[in-house]
Amino acid sequence: MATAPDRAQRYDRGIRVWGAHGQEALEAARVCLLNAGPTGTEALKNMVLGGIHSFTIVDGAKVEPADLGNNFLLTADGVSAPRAQCATECLKELNESVAGSYVEETPRSLMNSNPDFFKQFTLVIATQLGEADAVTIDNICRQHGVRLLLLRSYGLLGYVRPSVPEQCVVESKPDSKVDDLRLGNPWPELAAYAASVELAGMEDVAHSHVPYAALLIKAAKQWAESHGGGMPGTYTERSAFKDLLRGWQRHIDGFPLEEENLTEAVSNAHKVWAPPTVGSDLRAVLQDAAAASITRQSPNFWVLVAALNRFIAQEGQGQLPLEGSIPDMHASTQAYLDLQRIYHAKAEADAAAVEAHARALLEAAGRDPASLPASEVRHFCKHARYLRIVRCRSLEEETEPDSCRGEALRGALAAEDTAANAALYLLLRAADRFHATYQRYPGTFDSELEEDAALLKSQANAILSECGAAGGGGGSSAPAGVSDDLVGEMCRCAAGELHVVAAVVGAIAAQEAIKLLTGQFVPVGGALIYNAMQCTTSVFAF
């Protein structure tokens, strides 16, 4: 077993991405893999390296020569041994802290004989299942509250489909964050601080070390006083506002002093008139029905969203709780730390107000108000601007004629940037139907390539007309938007599992698994198609 300092070192590069709390979530994860082909073992490999708690492989096959041509996590001396066993041994070698076990049985047989088997897991990764089996495992997982990832590698096509009824994301970790500084509408303590900074009486050195936030608050106040309380709105006004700041420049013997804080103030002046707003993703979370009525069963996330709504309507006067951190700005250490303290205190006060609302909501719903840790409320408030919610439809809803989104599929087939990948989505489903009908995938035999292509197109047309998306094509000619070239490529590879495609699919799945397990970043909300020919991806929420 790795010792504690070894653990910190070993997982250091991952912890820098998802933090110690993310690592803890991974280390609690019990993962079940269905089918130990390269798609599955590659997905699991990446997770075992990251330090999950344990894995269990379900696979009924024996190791064959073809496995040694595409799967690194099997050994040559394992030929004709159970594939589940051989892969388990190879995967355990990668990380001695991870426990591994296997069941030598086909996923289908286990799903039928013992659906409760899957209750014990945090996540199921189901690979290379046809549509019918995929629907079965999805229903089982949803029933038991187990997260699911469905993966396929099919020639030069990859497919990753998370299936979770609801993923509430507090730490979505957006690429770019906006600074919430409240420069145009400072709260009393911040306004008092800015007022206490007397520029006129300052030595030059002190003057050049006033943080730009204080300069902008002062300038905004001065502007408002001379413009009937308004903020600079037009281009001319904004230029005048910047000139106002430039007018504060100190000079020696007629030469301007270099004052970096003033330069920063000018380049950050937009923060006065364009403060961060509530984005559409957050608005959707705030207006979600789950936040409208809090019951005993409501998850903490929705209790906190409801509390957030109350805060915005009451104490916040339309604003979110303050995030509390400030960007670096040219300033003396003392001035910067003073400013940091003022922002931090306000964030604490706002979080306390949200916490009070949350406790009141819990009490009203008949739950113990103390059951919500204060640390969770603070964490939530710190990330409140970037809350996200992802809901995946069940695979049954996606594929059943009466609930599938035929119009969306037709739209994607017609749009230039998604046509090829929507066609691949459709052809993968058509190939599964082909298999259900003929017990083989199209293109299995060299002699039947052309015939199979025609049959595959018929299956694709049948799917389209079932979900009301038929239009053009029909019979054995390619449906509108589906090129014969792509049909040909589907048959050419005959459901082959190429190692590189499996490695991409398994690795995308591992990223998605980390998101689902840690609650950080935003998972894919539909079917992801990876097109290895064009090197493109598309996500379809059909």
Partner: protein, 432 residues
């Protein structure tokens, strides 16, 4: 003995005709035979990307793989560099990786080179059909780029000579994001053409560090950049020596306490000092597999190739962008010759001064040598005294006329930069 059916899935791709394939694709068993027996691929770097690349290439039919890396294995590699175990810590990455891949994939030969990329000659690099880069620094990428571009020759019409093209595939990752790109010198942009893709590193002003620290990073940088040389002038700071790192951390902690700054941790100290880029197994695997697929396409033409850059962002759902970036026609590294205007009466010394002062060319030069065809016009080092007399001669006397291409070499460059002289005042035809 090859097991019957081992390459079944790959063979379908290589033995069946497809509709979406590269130019001149002729399916057949010869392609896999070529991959296994004749094709030579070099993997540069045996780290997070390198381990994946070796596995991916071996399982894509490549039978002869070389790998070069000067590094040894560290505990913090084990979260993603799956060919290494706890017991391998301290050993050569290239050697352990090569042995593990050969142990697992029968029939593949992986030859390790435990050395710096600069230690190998151009002859070594010329052997390979394709070079795949799994690097984490811009400097190393630029070096390999200049190596690959040094082989490139242009014909009289200014078209790249196909036989001299040394294709490369490059990958890079950071956290949940990554990129894969193909570099075909003379056809796609080289690294120098698109240097803007690499953002400059943030550097703190020294006066902030010394006088007005505001963040834990300021305290850490102060401790490393200012305190270390002052208090330990006889030791060279080595971030891989734990005692050194601990010293920087302790001093940074003390400075933070003095100024009332919160948040200096050992982890942050390591991150700031070593400029650690967070790296995880999954992103490396995505990028390396995409790179391998492109290497396979380049060598076999079995499918349409990436044109020419793919960005992967896995933070908010999955977003990818595949873009054909364009060459910089004035690139001093991969173009047929950068135009440079000079009066025929200018001396060679004046020309050299002009090159060093040029905003585009000068950044590659410090003390250039100049040659024209097989003639050394001015050389540094041993030939300096023999060529010095040329410095005072007018250019018009040293080259054949307008459009002449001189080669400019410099210790900052691995291969000569080609400069096409525009002799102002003359009216010879110029290629645009």
């Amino acid at each position: 003995m090859e097991l019957e059916g081992r390459w079944r899935d790959l063979d379908r791709l290589l033995e069946r005709q497809g509709n979406l394939v590269g130019p001149g694709f002729e399916p057949g068993p010869e392609i896999r035979e070529f991959l296994q027996n004749d094709a030579r691929v070099l993997v540069v770097g045996a780290g997070g990307l390198g381990c994946e690349l070796l596995k991916d290439l071996a399982l894509s039919g490549f039978g002869n793989i070389d790998v070069i890396d000067m590094d040894t294995i560290d505990v913090s590699n084990l979260n993603r560099q799956f060919l290494f175990r706890m017991g391998d810590v301290g050993k050569s990455k290239a050697e352990v990786a090569a042995a593990r891949v050969m142990e697992r994939v029968a029939g593949v030969t992986v030859t390790p080179h435990h050395c710096m990329i600069q230690e190998k000659t151009l002859d070594f690099y010329e052997e390979f059909h394709v070079i795949v880069l799994g690097l984490d620094s811009l400097e190393a990428r630029r070096y390999m780029n200049s190596v690959a571009c040094s082989f490139l020759a242009y014909d009289e019409d200014g078209q790249p000579d196909l036989a001299t093209i040394k294709p490369m595939v490059d990958g890079g990752t950071e956290g949940f994001k990554g990129h894969a790109r193909v570099l075909i010198p003379g056809v796609t942009p080289c690294f120098e053409c698109t240097l803007w893709l690499f953002p400059p590193q943030t550097k703190f002003p020294l006066c902030t560090l010394a006088e007005t620290p505001r963040s834990p990073a300021h305290c850490i940088e102060y401790s490393k950049i200012i305190l270390w040389p002052k208090e330990r002038p006889d030791d060279t700071f080595d971030p891989d020596v734990e005692e050194h790192m601990k010293w920087v951390f302790d001093k940074a902690t003390a400075r933070a306490a003095e100024f009332g700054i919160q948040g200096v941790t050992y982890q942050l100290t390591q991150g700031v000092v070593k400029n650690i880029i967070p790296a995880i197994a999954s992103t490396n695997a995505i990028v390396a597999a995409q790179c391998t697929l492109e290497a396979l396409k380049m060598v076999t033409m079995c499918s349409t190739g990436l044109n020419n850059y793919m960005m992967y962002v896995g933070t908010d759902g999955v977003y990818t962008l595949t873009t054909p970036y364009e060459r910089d026609e004035k690139c001093p590294i991969c173009s047929a010759g950068v135009g440079f205007e000079v009066a025929p009466s200018s001396t060679l010394q004046q020309l050299i001064n002009g090159l060093v002062a040029d905003p585009d060319l000068g950044k590659h030069l410090s003390a250039p040598s100049v040659s024209y065809g097989s003639t050394n016009l001015y050389m540094r080092g041993a030939l300096e005294s023999q060529t010095r007399h040329n410095l005072e001669k007018p250019i018009g006397e040293l080259v054949d006329g307008d459009g002449s291409i001189i080669h400019v070499n410099d210790k900052k460059l691995v291969a000569a930069m080609k400069v096409r002289l525009k002799l102002s005042g003359s009216n010879g035809s110029m290629e645009s």
